[in-house]
Symmetry: C2
């Protein structure tokens, strides 16, 4: 894409009142726009990143046989009353008589839907998910995309004949989540947490240790012990004499064993092979794509801007034309065409008429992984100047060498996943 | 996909109170679920169709340089007040002090966002769009996906230096919409309509003539004259002596010249080459993906079920195994594997243990374009039995012939678009 055609431009100063790195850099880069506290638009650059995150999530959900669907935002009071959550948990109510609650989780709706399709042990197990806008009344909505009043959620629901089958699938989801977080570039700590309203067993959270987080995690570097602040019990750290550390962390995913709470509330039952009736055993599993986006920025930034991991970068390559002599222009245009014709790599081409300093600062802020400069200097040497965003020094190479390098990166990436 | 693994099953009887074909067939087929009046979930089969519609829309938006973004549902009162629509047009209000209106259109938000990025004639033109859930308080929400309280909308907004540029882009959008509707299998009539709150010039609607529609269109088969009931004026039909007909119609898209209404309200201005300030000239353009889905069903059905056009079908091929002798099972599995390995075609394989009649009725209801039956009869003849959903008679052919036929369909489809 030509940078002059991009809907957004970078913004020089971080808006007042935005304290987190993710909000500052994402707004300055033109990735997002804040319309009110905790409510953001994903602008074209941010949307590109979001779609890459969502694609990775979809691939891993598909790999564990999750089927995608889309449930409503407007959830009638009767659903919430059936699970006794209307007065407790539904914050955003709407409609002429406030007869709807805006969905912030969909156990009620999916349980009611499932009664149409699950009646026998032969119908189990099943797993369905959606990527959908959710709403929570956050009083402290000042952490950018880490804590929104409106945000995206991938919510997966699973249905099983018994606890054993749920437990096996629960582990499968943990495996899928591990892959998702690894692919988007996040290191997570699998952390035990309280069951909340759902279950007395521990649930699990995927926590990214980061000072911007609002959670606190107690964990051991040596064994796999990790608990969140709410349930932390030092005595639970057994068979390992290493020290327990505590750090701030961002929760990017969670997995719950719901058991039969919702199937009992919604009469979601099945008949076993002997004809006996049982409530369906359920699980629910969340990941926040917009929160992931914010977390990636908290993890990958420096004083100059964002450093997107390749798998989620809005573009893979950033061509920067410095100067507008015909030779430079021709060389830059030729490279832009070549990469697009000979690879599937996405390219942003900065052909704007502004000053070199502005272009380079913008490029650092936007954080596209591979930067290629075309200037009078590079043209004179029949080379191009390449620098990865995280590298300090650039190098002059042949444009064919660049394409080979980039393709190898792609092959490597595919090989890893 | 194996049909036994599908989250949904067909439902024998249409639910009571559902009068439209689209609601009846989509619910019976397990494509959608109604959770309350005008509020539907897209279940996995319906979601597959929706995603094909959305992909076609995205491709055509991309072709006219539309950049995708995602704006919020929660829109603060201040935005609506600035355009004087809070008391008039915002139906679903929410928040502790009802300080948000649920977005049913986004002129306000996008105008406010654009002030960050448009300040010079050099920043124009631009076009951005989103595919997003919208909310309207429909009192008569009984037309299935044709008229929802919650529904999906593709809304495109464009920004121009002057009316001429807007007019040229407006025609480009009409061209893109023509392509979209043609690709999803809908014949539309471009109909003049009133400007509503936005403009005194006529706007245009894309109407599908269908008795399930709630609009009435007056049109001439010979010339391009078409007006909706609200503005119809017989005297406007000039230069053609053919008869004017009137029919019920479903509005699947619309295009508006907004002019400077919103740019003036939000101080969205630009400086021209001489340094003079002007308000930006805007357009907005809507298409309803979920309404398209319902309209396709209204257009493509028979007494037995749906007949999906290939471009939007949830699957391309439906393999139906009749009987469970080892030979039949092996032949069906082999065909399933072969199509998946040798083509990119999506296949639903009905390997369920139920009776032949049930399988064939389900297949008719689901409406997948290419049906392939594998039975003792076909195995004995070393053939497969192929029938397109719209055809009356099936034919016995070689499985390699099927693959060649299917691939040719795909090539033809690509060639057309």
């Amino acid at each position: 894409m030509l940078q002059s055609q991009l809907f957004t431009k970078t913004i020089r100063h971080a808006p007042e009142g935005e304290e987190t790195k993710n909000a500052q850099l994402l707004i300055r880069g033109g990735f997002v726009n804040k319309s009110s506290a905790g409510v953001y638009s994903l602008l074209p650059l941010g949307f590109l990143v979001l779609e890459k995150i969502n694609r990775i999530i979809r691939e891993e959900m598909h790999a564990i046989d999750g089927q995608e669907l889309l449930m409503p935002t407007l959830i009638q009071k009767k659903y919430w009353e059936q699970s006794k959550r209307w007065d407790v948990d539904v914050i955003y109510k709407t409609g002429a008589n406030l007869e709807y609650g805006l969905g912030w989780t969909h156990e009620e709706v999916i349980s009611a839907i499932a009664t149409n399709f699950i009646s026998s042990y032969k119908d189990l197990p099943k797993a369905v998910y959606q990527i959908q806008t959710k709403f929570r009344a956050e009083t402290r909505a000042q952490a950018g995309l880490l804590r929104g009043r409106e945000f995206l959620m991938k919510d997966l629901y699973s249905f099983h004949a018994n606890a054993n089958d749920l437990n096996a699938f629960y582990q499968k989801v943990i495996g899928a989540y591990d892959k998702i977080f690894k692919r988007v570039g996040l290191k997570t700590v699998l952390t035990e947490a309280g069951g909340g309203a759902f279950t007395k067993e521990y649930t699990h959270e995927f926590q990214v240790l980061n000072p911007a987080g609002e959670d606190t995690v107690y964990y051991c570097r040596k064994c796999k012990f990790a608990q969140n602040k709410e349930i932390y019990n030092e005595a639970a750290h057994k068979d390992c004499n290493a020290e327990i550390k505590s750090d701030r962390a961002i929760e990017v995913g969670n997995v719950f064993k719901l058991g039969v709470k919702f199937s009992e509330a919604f009469n979601l039952n099945y008949l076993d092979a002997q004809g006996a009736r049982h409530p369906v055993v359920m699980g629910s599993y969340g990941i926040g794509p917009t929160r992931i986006l914010g977390t990636i920025v908290e993890e990958y930034n420096d004083a100059k801007g964002i450093l997107w991991p390749e798998a989620v970068a809005p573009f893979f390559v950033h061509i920067i034309q410095l100067g507008d002599s015909p030779k430079v222009k021709t060389a830059a245009e030729r490279l832009y065409k070549m990469i697009r014709q000979k690879s599937s790599l996405s390219v942003l081409y900065d052909e704007r008429g502004c000053m070199a300093g502005e272009k380079l600062n913008d490029a650092d802020l936007l954080g596209i992984p591979w930067r290629v400069i075309i200037s009078d200097k590079t043209v004179a040497q029949k080379k191009i100047e390449v620098k990865q965003r995280a590298e300090k020094e650039s190098r002059l190479i042949d444009s064919k060498k660049l394409l080979a390098d980039l393709k190898q990166r792609l092959v490597m990436e595919k090989h890893i996943h």
